[in-house]
């Protein structure tokens, strides 16, 4: 079983977590329909290190993870608002 480190509860089995997708910047109110569609639908599909939302279901904790999506290797996890750990 793969383990993921919740910033609050420590290392837990990955089955306790839900993936929330890559962190993306929401365009402002002034954006065009095309920019909004790009935000809603398009994804950075290429592999690499990405920052993603994850949710620890048992404790209701949303947090951020830096993960290499080719190797499926989690580099760091932290709470929103916290400084990104080095």
């Amino acid at each position: 079983m793969k383990l993921l480190r919740c910033p609050v509860n420590g290392a837990r089995p990955v089955s306790e977590f839900v993936y929330g997708g890559e962190v993306r910047e929401m365009p402002g109110d002034a954006c065009t329909d095309a920019e909004w569609a790009d935000y809603v639908f398009n994804r950075s599909g290429i592999p690499g290190v990405k920052i993603e939302w994850w949710y620890h279901v048992a404790s209701g904790t949303w947090f951020l993870a830096k993960r290499d999506v080719a190797a499926d290797h989690v580099l760091q996890t932290w709470l929103p608002g916290e400084e990104v750990p080095e």
């Binding site: 079983m1 793969k2 089955s15 839900v18 993936y19 890559e22 329909d33 095309a34 569609a37 790009d38 639908f41 398009n42 994804r43 950075s44 599909g45 290429i46 592999p47 990405k50 999506v69 080719a70 190797a71 499926d72």
Partner: protein, 413 residues
């Protein structure tokens, strides 16, 4: 025939005839370069040469023929989708499958088994009834059947599923079938090669030259080739290739895993799918159970497989078939599924002139191999979008015109 056989028997050497030619070097220029020697790319090349007279075609693959999702899939062929455009498209594919083996002079082990989607709850029964009615309205052979019919078609099933998920009925789709995936790739590959198409394995596309919005050529690990038309049919690698031409798409990549058991005497005739238990299963001509579950829950861009998957799927298989408890799992593997938000493909022209896409085939594209070849070869040869794929254009997202093809959910195929 008899004479040939006799000559063969008396000959001292029996060289293997090759399925396709292996040219030793890339040409300098082609009319069309197809990226990806999976079923889709090879089928498009085959129909380009056969139906459209385009002969200078090169199919390039970073690995080997059929080594992508084509050779990793569980080969379920059906057409009980939900939208008119989906049904029309897959129906055409199922009818193309019927004479493909004749066309190729190759046994594809196409085997019509009947496809049952099991319902374990009242609400699932209602959904199945709805799907049956929509299908019938669209001219697809689907009907709702009761548990006794499931038992008749598959006597070894435990209708109670261990007591916690009793089977209340099923959506029955008579044309549901399976086929030999490798043979499909080889058949198209051989047919294309016989008509002059070059197939270059171990040739990875590393860049695409675009000038003034038009395709100019392709960089590969074996040199540069110039071409004005590129067809991208690379399944789970699609985002990497669209990145080369600067096109953004909604495609995201999750692994889809599968496994097979050791071979057994035939006992499972139909194809069974259970959405609630995350299982689909059929028995191959070799007697192995070919099993799959749902998509992995998060993005991974590799073909790693996991023990969690095997354990989960095996447990659900035992709910349905307790007598399998001593049967061994022989192999497991994964493919990279190129998923879209509306479970429909992305096909046709793109904002870059001369760059055509056949992608977003996720967990359900094997069944569509022939019709994709047909429609994409037409689109590439004439630079006009084929009627059957109009609803699948990349620009539908910009127009907020998604197709809503839920019939292709990641369990169900």
């Amino acid at each position: 025939m008899a004479y040939q056989l006799l000559r063969f028997a008396l000959a001292s050497r029996h060289p293997e005839t090759r399925m396709f030619r292996t040219p030793d070097r890339l040409g300098e220029t082609y009319d069309v370069v197809v990226i990806g020697a999976g079923g889709h790319g090879l089928a498009a090349a085959y129909y380009l040469a056969r139906d459209h007279g385009v002969r200078k075609v090169a199919v390039l693959d970073r690995g080997y023929i059929g080594g992508g999702n084509t050779g990793r899939n569980t080969t379920i062929i059906r057409s009980n989708y939900l939208t008119p455009e989906g049904v029309a498209f897959y129906d055409q594919s199922v009818s193309l499958w019927q004479d493909l083996a004749q066309d190729f002079d190759l046994n594809l082990f196409y085997s019509t088994r009947g496809h049952y989607t099991l319902a374990h709850t009242d609400s699932a029964v209602r959904t199945m009834r709805w799907r049956a009615e929509v299908n019938k309205h669209l001219g697809v052979r689907s009907e709702l059947v009761g548990p006794e019919e499931v038992k008749r078609a598959c006597p070894r099933i435990d209708l109670d599923c261990g007591g916690h998920a009793p089977i209340l009925g099923a959506l029955f789709h008579a044309p549901g079938a399976i086929a030999r995936h490798d043979a499909v790739a080889w058949g198209y590959g051989r047919g294309a090669s016989q008509r002059g198409v070059e197939i270059h394995q171990q040739t990875e596309v590393t860049g695409i030259d675009v000038e003034a919005g038009r395709v100019k050529g392709v960089h590969t690990t074996r040199g540069y080739v110039s071409t004005r038309k590129v067809l991208c049919a690379v399944a789970g690698f699609t985002p990497r290739v669209t990145h080369m031409v600067g096109i953004r798409t909604p495609i995201y990549v999750h692994p889809l895993q599968a496994m097979v058991s050791e071979p057994m005497k035939p006992w499972l005739d139909p194809i069974l799918v259970s959405g609630s238990l995350h299982v689909y299963v059929s028995q191959s001509a070799r007697g192995e159970l070919v099993m799959g579950a749902s998509l992995d829950p998060y993005e991974v861009q590799s073909t790693r497989s996991t023990l969690d998957f095997t354990e989960g799927l095996a447990a659900h298989m035992l709910d349905m078939f307790p007598f399998l408890s001593h049967v061994r799992v022989n192999r497991q593997w994964a493919g990279m599924a190129d998923m879209t938000p509306d479970f429909a493909p992305v096909m046709g022209k793109t904002p870059v002139e001369g760059f055509y896409l056949d992608a977003g085939w996720g967990t359900w594209g094997f069944k569509a191999t022939p019709v994709c070849g047909k429609t994409m070869s037409y689109t590439v040869a004439t630079d006009r979008t084929h009627e059957l794929i109009r609803a699948f254009s990349l620009s539908r997202f910009e127009r907020y015109e998604l197709t809503g093809e839920k019939g292709a959910a990641s369990v169900g195929h």
